[in-house]
């Protein structure tokens, strides 16, 4: 498998990373090598095994619809870098 520089830029954008052109080239090569390594698992014959994302064999783990108190406002905001008037405060999402 070979990851293109275009794909690296796309993934970086989704991950909110700003990469230099040198980094894009470097990571394209490194990530390709990692993917190539992982691709070796494709050699295993899985034609008789149905695909599943789950390995625990659990299903229907559910609860009743009963509310219970959570955190108070102060506790909820205590890890936040910034807050105001009970809200989490972040840089404006839209340019004004």
């Amino acid at each position: 498998m070979h990851l293109t520089q275009e794909e690296v830029r796309h993934v970086a954008e989704l991950a909110k990373l700003r990469l230099t052109e040198a980094e894009v080239r470097q990571y394209a090569a490194q990530l390709s090598a990692i993917l190539d390594y992982a691709e070796r698992i494709q050699e295993v014959d899985t034609s008789s095994v149905p695909p599943t994302p789950y390995v625990l064999g659990l299903e229907n783990v559910m609860r009743d619809d009963e509310p219970q108190p959570g955190l108070d406002n102060e506790a909820a905001l205590s890890n936040a870098p910034d807050s105001a008037n009970g809200f989490f405060r972040v840089r404006a999402v839209f340019e004004e």
Partner: protein
């Protein structure tokens, strides 16, 4: 103005698919036990480590939300999946604390449904439902002065998404589909369906195409419209977008595939600021939630809980009770109205056209009082009116046995609406019983004829349309209590006596 130009343009076919998000009426959130009563609550007071997206927490599925979704799927004629899986939809936004929304992708709970939409012109169009799936709502943000303020009370509230195929070909069909859908949601009790409160959000995908494109199985570029907070706005937005896209194509341009918002004040769509530079959600199965296995026994249990739905009720009213379609429609839109009507018919009787008479009184007089009551046009208020169904039945019985005349009946209904008193008590207290006594009526007629000699002469000279004038005077002289048939008969006799 664009919207003012002709509505239909036979050179183009309108093609609309609808995505509807519905908040479910559970008491706790989708994946944690936080309460869902966030309306009016201070910000970030219905939150816990799970819905705040803190590391090391695990979601657990709310069984009632799953059952509500299956119930909705069954009501919309869907197949219920044997296995359903939750999936992560990844994107970055401050009101999405985990950096992903737990939704469903490849294996939704319900697929392949169909709703038959009845239009005002009497036609019916089938609209296929592609899927109904379950996900979680996001938080809310307010943007102000270079900051965004985030409240996560709503984050994690169960949200059901209903997606139709692109089977809608007019704004009227879209309107009828949504009204019918909301009605079903309320019958099922799974959602309030209140658009203005954000409990129901509709996003139409709108495009137009030429007959040639249609023949080739192609579609035009579609525009998704958001921020619609009433059914009327959905209808207006579809009409506006159709005109706009046709005008773009007519002037040689191309429709761009974009998201638009609806500007209610200016009644037009506007290009929406985009949240993400890329719609690449990288869906994958949610590893924290084991799959759902929907046994046929469980699905049958849920099916057994389905109430009689509006379409079936409407058909039954017409078939069994001989109702006209207009009243049958008006009475079945809201389950609370249908419930009131059925209670009233049970007390009043099903014979001799009584259900239709009851239907007329409810859709005419009672609706008029509810609409005039200042609480808006919401017929669900019928559950709170002071008149019990049996009291309305008693009022109609008083009219049937000629204790009062129909006009007096309206007056009594007004008093019942204000006080909740029994109609018999009101009639006795206010002395409203109908006067059928011919001597009283004769006396009233004689005095009216004596007091209006000029009109009497004109009437006898052939101006017979003055009959209505005399009739009005007689009714007024008896404070509206005269038996109108007896009064009409005596008046006719005395007028023609000459």
């Amino acid at each position: 103005m664009l919207a003012a130009t002709t509505k239909s343009d036979t050179r183009y076919e309108l093609v609309v698919g609808m995505e509807v998000h519905v908040q479910l009426l559970t008491r706790s959130k989708m994946f944690c036990r936080c309460a869902t009563d966030y309306a009016g609550a201070p910000p970030n007071t219905r939150v816990c480590p799970v819905c705040l997206g803190m590391p090391g927490t695990l979601p657990v599925i709310n069984r009632d939300a799953v059952e509500a979704t299956v119930k909705t799927g069954l009501a919309l004629g869907c197949e219920i999946a044997e296995t359903a899986v939750f999936a992560r939809k990844n994107y970055t936004y401050p009101d999405l604390p985990k950096g992903y929304q737990i939704s469903q992708f490849e294996l939704p709970l319900c697929i392949h449904g169909r709703v038959d939409v009845d239009l005002p012109d009497g036609s019916t169009s089938p609209i296929r439902v592609r899927r109904v799936h379950l996900e979680e709502d996001t938080g809310r943000s307010v943007h102000e002065g270079g900051y965004s303020y985030v409240d996560l009370n709503r984050a994690g509230v169960p949200l059901m998404e209903i997606v139709t195929e692109a089977d809608i070909h007019s704004a009227e069909q879209a309107y009828a589909f949504l009204t019918g859908l909301r009605s079903v949601l309320r019958y099922l009790g799974v959602s309030s369906g209140d658009m203005e409160k954000g409990a129901m959000r509709c996003e139409p995908n709108i495009s137009v195409r030429t007959p040639e494109q249609k023949a080739r199985g192609e579609y035009g570029a579609k525009v998704e419209v958001k921020n619609l907070n009433s059914f009327r706005a959905v209808r207006s937005a579809i009409e506006y977008e159709m005109r706009r896209q046709i005008d773009v194509l007519q002037s040689g341009g191309a429709v761009e595939q974009v998201n638009m918002g609806w500007d209610e004040e200016r009644q037009r769509t506007v290009l929406q600021r985009t949240k993400e530079s890329s719609d690449d959600y990288r869906y994958f199965p949610e590893p924290d939630l084991p799959p759902l296995a929907l046994s046929r026994a469980w699905v049958d249990e849920i099916r057994a809980e389905l109430p009689e739905l509006p379409g079936a009720k409407r058909a039954r009213y017409i078939r069994d009770w001989g109702l006209r379609p207009t009243e049958a429609d008006a009475l079945t839109g809201e389950s609370l109205v249908a419930c009131f009507f059925e209670g009233a018919v049970a007390a009043y009787g099903e014979e001799d056209g009584k259900p239709q008479r009851m239907a007329n009184w409810i859709t005419g007089e009672l609706f008029r009082l509810i609409y005039a009551d200042g609480e808006g046009q919401d017929l669900r208020q019928i559950a709170d009116v002071r008149i019990a169904p049996a009291q309305l039945a008693a009022l109609l019985a008083l009219i049937d046995d000629k204790t009062i005349n129909p006009n007096t009946g309206k007056k009594v209904l007004d008093i019942m609406y204000a006080t909740g008193d029994d109609p018999q008590d009101i009639v006795a207290r206010e002395g409203l019983a109908m006067v059928s006594d011919t001597s009283v009526i004769d006396e009233a007629v004689a005095s009216i004829l004596a007091a209006n000699p000029a009109e009497l002469a004109r009437y006898r000279g052939g101006e017979t349309k003055l009959f209505g004038f005399f009739m009005g005077q007689v009714m007024r002289a008896t404070q509206g209590k005269a038996d109108p048939n007896a009064a009409r008969q005596r008046l006719q006799e005395l007028l023609d006596e000459a």
